[in-house]
């Protein structure tokens, strides 16, 4: 099936079999290997991408279901490939990653959250990332990083 989507702000078309998940389409057909796969059945959150503004598990979505959608992957959070965005900077500052396997899912989830709710407090952040497993950090640094990045998202929202 031929599908059309906007990936990190660029429109594209791709031919996919119905059985291909959005995650595999992104990684194998579109070269966006920043999206990580661990459990491949919806429990870990590593594969989170943003579809039409909402965080979703890309291992639990068919590529054909993304026909016509706007998709943002972790690569899309660094528009010019040079400067880190506020979330990435906060993650670096707080050492919110060790092996980095969960990180793209954490960043995409947090980006969707803070774009919609820049005022999210610690409690809200914890409940949202409860769906993302990290085997390394113990989560506290991740929660702190997301909370700190909220400030930039608030400023962006006020400017808009």
């Amino acid at each position: 099936m031929q599908i059309r989507m906007t990936l990190n702000r660029e429109p594209l078309e791709v031919e996919v079999m119905p059985r291909v998940t959005l995650a595999d389409c992104l990684r194998h057909q579109l070269g966006k290997t920043g999206t990580h796969l661990a459990c491949e059945h919806g429990v870990c959150g590593a594969c989170t991408v943003i579809v039409n503004g909402q965080a979703v598990r890309s291992c639990l979505m068919l590529a054909v279901q993304a026909n016509g959608a706007e998709v943002v992957t972790v690569e899309g959070l660094t528009p010019d490939d040079e400067e880190f965005g506020p979330l990435q900077q906060a993650f670096r500052k707080h050492n919110a990653l060790q092996c980095g396997f969960c990180t793209s899912g954490m960043l995409t989830t947090a980006h969707a959250l803070l774009t919609a709710e820049p005022d999210a407090d610690h409690e809200r952040i914890r409940s949202v990332i409860a769906g993302n497993i990290c085997r390394c950090t113990g989560y506290l640094s991740i929660v702190d990083a997301i909370h700190e990045a909220g400030e930039s998202y608030r400023a962006n929202k006020e400017r808009a």
Binding site: R57, L60, L62
Partner: protein, 290 residues
């Protein structure tokens, strides 16, 4: 884990969807959010030859508050129910229960119709629908029908749906003002399936005695259901801490539970008793808006 091969159709009308589904003799399945079906397929517990995507059929994802209750379209996603502020007055128990379902990303795709059709014994929505006496509207290629939730859920992952049928909406009967309610569950990680849970509501007469007592439990055995022993005990009495404790004890011995890899039977019985006690105390002590 990669999915087994299948064909995919994305019809624009309900008629097209039911016709496609009934032509395939039970070998075709509807897909809504895919949050339960795709994991099943990944594990090869399901391998339909055709998936009929319901997502592009307009009009199935609305929440309407009418005189006879709250009507929720089958394709309504958890995140939409959670965000609908009208429900905190129109059906506070529905609003609260949905907060406990699955994780953030899954809530952005999972639907109420998909959850009922999937009929997981540990899921919140089938239990809530049975507790509240909800009705489920089902469309087939030729006829439509309406079933009470308790007749719809027939076993673990089993429903009264015939091949080719699709759930179109769920009606929760009108919520009485001043109704008392609570929702309690326990899961190891927030958003995971609960080891056990309780949804309940009751009304009070002028003397403060409980009437119309509905107590539902889930995560206990093959299907969620109401616990009539506890309901009968509470009916006609004033709910306070002592009564809640006694009701919890009755529930503990009356509830039928199963052991599985997540928890043993004795643990689950104790859990249900405790949750019912807590839920009754919570319901009785909640400030009621005039």
């Amino acid at each position: 884990m990669k999915l087994p091969p299948f064909e995919y159709a994305s019809p624009r009308t309900l008629q097209e969807a039911t016709t496609l589904l009934s032509k395939h003799n039970g070998d075709a399945r509807p897909i809504a959010g895919g949050q339960s079906l795709l994991p099943l397929m990944a594990f090869r517990l399901a391998a339909p030859s055709l998936l009929v995507d319901l997502a592009n059929i307009p009009g199935l994802d609305r929440i309407e508050i009418r005189d006879d209750g709250v009507h929720v379209g089958a394709l309504t996603r958890w995140c939409q129910i959670e965000a609908d502020r009208r429900l905190t007055a129109a059906h506070p128990l529905l609003s609260e229960a949905v907060k406990h379902i699955a994780h953030y990303q899954i809530r952005n795709r999972g639907t109420i119709g998909g959850s009922l059709a999937h009929a997981d014994p540990a899921a919140e929505m089938p239990a809530l629908a049975i507790t509240c006496g909800a009705e489920i509207t089902i469309a087939g290629a030729k006829v439509s029908r309406v079933l009470a939730a308790k007749d719809f859920i027939t076993g673990p992952l089993e429903t009264a749906l015939e091949p080719g049928e699709v759930i179109t909406s769920i009606r929760f009967p009108k919520w009485r003002s001043h109704r008392r309610w609570a929702f309690q569950e326990f899961s190891k990680r927030r958003g995971d399936f609960a080891l056990g849970g309780v949804a309940l509501h009751f009304d009070e007469d002028a003397q403060g005695h409980a009437s119309e007592v509905h107590i539902g439990v889930f995560g206990t055995g093959d299907t969620p259901g109401r616990l009539s022993a506890a309901e009968e005990f509470v009916r006609g009495k004033k709910v306070d801490a002592g009564l809640a404790q006694a009701a919890g004890n009755i529930a503990r011995s009356a509830v039928r539970v199963a052991s599985d890899m997540h928890a043993g039977a004795a643990y689950r019985q104790a859990l249900i008793g405790t949750l019912i006690e807590r839920a009754l105390v919570e319901a009785a002590s909640r400030a009621i808006e005039e």
